[in-house]
């Protein structure tokens, strides 16, 4: 599987879909911020207690984290290796440059790098609090979110990353379907529309939070 470009792409597609699934849940959870600190903090608590009494406190969340880390690592490693291979496969460029021919490829590569850096920042900001401004408080996510989006650069980083996310999903979702052999001429329009819709909803849903904070709807 891993030895073949087609197999490696399938790994990328599958790991991407896992992350996408997580993002949908994440985005829906985020929207709870609009219903006040009580509901949002309770949600934060719930994801640590879900599965009890079968699971111990925090176990489910850790499982999710492990799966996600595995997905990110697989996705990024495959992307890195495939990109290196792709660049090697086209060592000489055309003298006559044509614009746009590798738009999707470039967006995916740069978008992927942006998203990777963002994830690091995002975890240090809102999970561990290392780069958090305004005093990170464990167990009080609502306040942490409001603090994060009270700085201009927090908003800029977040919104830029979410736009990159949208573009990434737009090509990535459709592309994953093709890679996993689920596409085809009959389904192509549906898949493209679904990819656009997903990209739009996720970007809008995520961006809604900083916009909410900036406009004072969330404070």
């Amino acid at each position: 599987m891993w030895d073949s470009t087609v197999g490696k792409k399938a790994v990328m597609a599958a790991s991407g879909l896992i992350m996408l699934l997580y993002l949908v849940a994440h985005m829906i959870g985020n929207l709870k911020v609009f219903f006040g600190p009580g509901e949002f903090n309770a949600y934060g608590h719930w994801i640590r207690t879900v599965g009890e009494p079968f699971m111990h406190y925090g176990w489910t969340l850790w499982i999710i984290r492990v799966v996600l880390v595995a997905a990110v690592v697989a996705h990024a490693t495959a992307a890195y290796q495939l990109s290196r291979r792709d660049i090697r496969a086209r060592p000489a460029k055309y003298v006559h440059k044509k614009r746009g021919s590798d738009y999707a490829t470039r967006t995916m590569r740069w978008g992927g790098v942006i998203l990777g850096l963002f994830i690091v920042w995002h975890i240090l900001d809102l999970t561990t609090g290392h780069v958090h401004t305004g005093g990170f408080q464990e167990g009080r996510p609502y306040q942490n979110v409001v603090d994060s989006f009270s700085t201009w650069y927090g908003n800029v980083i977040y919104i830029v990353a979410m736009l990159a996310l949208g573009l990434h999903i737009r090509h990535g979702f459709w592309s994953a379907a093709q890679t996993l052999g689920a596409g085809g001429r009959a389904r192509d329009r549906f898949l493209k529309a679904a990819a656009n819709l997903l990209a739009l909803l996720l970007t809008a849903g995520f961006v809604a939070v900083p916009v909410g904070v900036m406009t004072g709807v969330v404070s």
Binding site: S4, A10, T105
Partner: protein
């Protein structure tokens, strides 16, 4: 018509190569692009210069030999082969850049000629149905539903020109490989080797140094025979299916 050509000149595989500029005059819009190059070459020969080397043969769009990147487009601005491109697609005074196919797996032989033998090796890896001469059953023994026959034909139309590789930002040969996989895998005659065929061909494709697919779609855009991008999707499915089933020789 009067045109300025900037053409990639490279004496041989070891030479570095560069673009050279030529003026051509008296070009008729009815000429094919290659006839325009013929005209230039006739002049170069008489001037004692080395004529421009380019691959060409049938000049009717079916042998797949011709292979020029014209103004950044594999086979030029029309969706056809270079030999079927006519000068009426250009305007008097145009500057036209002519380059060879670019890909690590297609090294330049001379000027605009590249080595595409990697394609032959992909076919050798499994792009056939094992049917030794004399072993065939009566042709009507296995009816093939017309839609399947048509689908097989649509993929079998590939002329192996390599425009898909030339246009791909990753120098990938997915469209070429998938066309042959789908042509044979869709037919009942190809079913027994369906799994090993796709696995072996993809393995060979990777070994030849082609890039991977990022579904940029440029291959299908330039394909003179209109092999659709969905061909790649279908091959991916065949590959995953074969991998899941553990097909190996």
């Amino acid at each position: 018509m009067r045109l300025t050509l900037r053409v990639w000149r490279q004496r041989n595989a070891a030479d570095e190569g560069a673009m050279s500029t030529y003026q051509v005059d008296g070009i008729s819009p009815d000429m094919s692009f290659l006839e325009m190059l013929d005209t230039l070459n006739e002049r170069l020969i008489l001037e004692g210069e080395d004529p421009i080397a380019f691959d060409h043969d049938c000049r009717e769009g079916i042998c797949g030999a011709c292979s020029l990147v014209i103004n950044g487009d594999a086979h030029g601005p029309e969706r056809t082969t270079t030999c079927q491109l006519h000068m009426r697609s250009f305007r008097d005074g145009d500057v036209i850049d002519v380059e060879p196919w670019r890909a690590a797996a297609f090294p330049v032989v001379k000027d605009l000629v590249v080595d595409r033998s990697a394609f032959d090796r992909i076919i050798q890896a499994g792009g056939y149905i094992t049917a030794p001469t004399g072993a065939a059953p009566e042709a009507h023994a296995t009816p093939v539903p017309k839609p399947d026959a048509d689908r097989a034909f649509e993929h079998a139309e590939c002329i192996g020109c390599g425009a898909c590789v030339a246009a791909c930002p990753n120098g990938a040969a997915m469209l070429f490989t998938s066309a042959k996989v789908n042509h044979l895998n869709v037919l009942p005659q190809g079913a027994p080797e369906r799994g090993t065929r796709v696995l072996d061909m993809v393995e060979r494709m990777d070994a030849e140094g082609f890039g991977g697919c990022t579904l940029a779609g440029e291959c299908a855009t330039v394909c003179p025979k209109g092999i659709p991008l969905s061909s790649i999707t279908d091959m991916n499915r065949e590959w995953l299916r074969a991998t899941a089933k553990g097909a190996r020789r």
